[in-house]
Amino acid sequence: MGAFDHDEGYRLRVRKNAAFTWLVLLPSLLVLAILAVIVLTVFLKGVKALNPRFFLETQKPFGDPGGGIANGIVGSVMVLGIAALVSVPLSILAALHLVEKSSSFLSTLLRLVVDSLQGIPSIVIGVVIYAWMVVSLGSFSAFSGGIALALIMIPTVTTSIQEVLLLVPASYMEAAISLGVPRWRASLGILLPAAKSGILNGVGLGIARISGETAPLLFTAFGNPFMNLNAAKPTGAIPLIIYEYIKSPYADWHEKAWGAALILVAFVFALNMAVGARKTDKSR
């Protein structure tokens, strides 16, 4: 018998291998199938609501023909924009400190804050911002909604930025410091730019994560059926509209809720794909 003849043990091994491959593959296929069903449901139910007026008109009282979610789209852009504007610089500074001075007291404190913040349910953050900002400012606002979302975003974005900063070769900082450049200038001028694309990815995923948050907006941005561009006033948001419409007894509003959900899902998909595209672009 030649050395490469297939014996009984070999055949058994092949079969075991195949069985194991299926065992691993099956759950992934299942998850994929569930995802497909969700996306398909949202698409089929939502696509019926889509037409130009849906994007261009604001919400209308029930019974009025037409009506759209333009106020929610604009409001979401505002609230997410404020959240990003507030959370990104803070997260970058926090991540820089965590990487550059990892054993300082402030770092220990920061880690504690980031971990705790991550564990707080988002509705609690909404309530806290309500107590702090809405009550003292005397009005619901896009601003307070943005701050609530920023608090939810900070831990994830800080952690992901910290990870990409740690991937930057230490030799860059060493070179910068050997040129007699103060450490903080080196951090801003060399470390951050070197990690730029990873930071953008982290921010993109962070925004995708919070874009569907509803609970923290309930008593902060509050919602507004009219177009509002004033950050100090109550403001609509896509998730708030979904929440409001799906609760209603009207078939037309249900359809609009699905339409809004479709837009939200498309937005999150687009963000994720943009991040994915950047990643593959980098690895080339």
Binding site: Y172, E174, A175, S178, G180, G189, I190, P193, A194
Partner: protein, 257 residues
């Protein structure tokens, strides 16, 4: 030699330098010597003998490694760089460093040179500074059409010369080089050696090398270290031809394990 004469002759005076890492390992023990102004001094010795540690002490780079303890004096321009009132950031501007592995910034060739100069408040023409630095590093002809390209697209040898140019742009008095050619091919190595021969007219160069032939080719003085100790420090020819210490002789004749 009195102090005044030492000052004119010496680029660096090292007195009783001791360096201990956080784990207690004494990497440099009681090193004392005078590095002459201009010219090239090579630091040789077997792996792990403390060459890099000593070199990094001369512009206080060891401070980037937490827990490193340095005692003794390193006199530069008449002042101890470890003195209480000395700022390591300012010292490094005058005592530059080139590393073993080329480490240009992930920026354009131009920015690699301009970035630090700008931070140091350089007021003159930046284009002229970039060009003259690249010329001094014998790199200008090769990169003059690629100034806006990423430095990481250059070859290893070009990257290392860019790193030298980046240091030269700050007009340091001393350039510390830690095995600058060990990651390069023979042709790139010989170009850098030519460059060093050229630069030594204007700068004091301290170079760590594993390669004794290289030390013989490019240095005027050679320091031999062994297990953290400076064993012998002499003009290169004399050290290689008539070493005074038996340990030096054993090392240069290749009889060390």
């Amino acid at each position: 030699m009195n102090d005044r004469q030492t000052h004119d002759y010496a680029a660096l005076v090292v007195r009783s330098l001791n360096i201990r890492y956080a784990d207690g390992h004494e990497a440099v023990k009681d090193m004392s010597c005078v590095f002459p102004r201009q010219g090239v001094t090579a630091i040789i010795g077997p792996s792990g003998c403390g060459k890099s540690t000593a070199l990094r002490a001369f512009n206080r780079m060891n401070e980037l490694i937490p827990g490193t303890e340095t005692t003794g004096e390193v006199i530069f321009g008449g002042r101890n760089i470890y003195g209480a009132d000395m700022d390591p950031v300012r010292i490094r501007r005058h005592i530059g460093m080139v590393f073993q592995k080329p480490n240009p910034f992930p920026k354009s060739v131009y920015e690699n040179i301009a970035w630090a100069a700008r931070i140091h408040g350089f007021k003159g023409g930046m284009d002229a500074l970039v060009e003259s630095s690249l010329r001094k590093a014998a790199l200008w002809e090769e990169v003059k059409d690629k100034l806006k390209k990423s430095a990481l697209s250059l070859s290893g040898g070009q990257q290392q010369r860019l790193c030298i140019a980046r240091t030269l742009a700050l007009e340091p008095e001393i350039i510390l080089m830690d095995e600058p050619t060990s990651a390069l091919d023979p042709i790139s190595t010989s170009r850098i050696e030519d460059l060093i021969a050229d630069l030594k007219k204007d700068f004091t160069i301290l170079i760590v090398t594993h390669n004794m032939q290289q030390a013989g080719r490019i240095s005027d003085m050679t320091a031999f270290m062994l297990m953290g100790e400076l064993v012998e420090f002499a003009p290169t020819k004399r050290l290689f031809v008539h070493p005074e210490d038996e340990r030096t002789e054993r090392y240069i004749t290749g009889r060390f394990g």
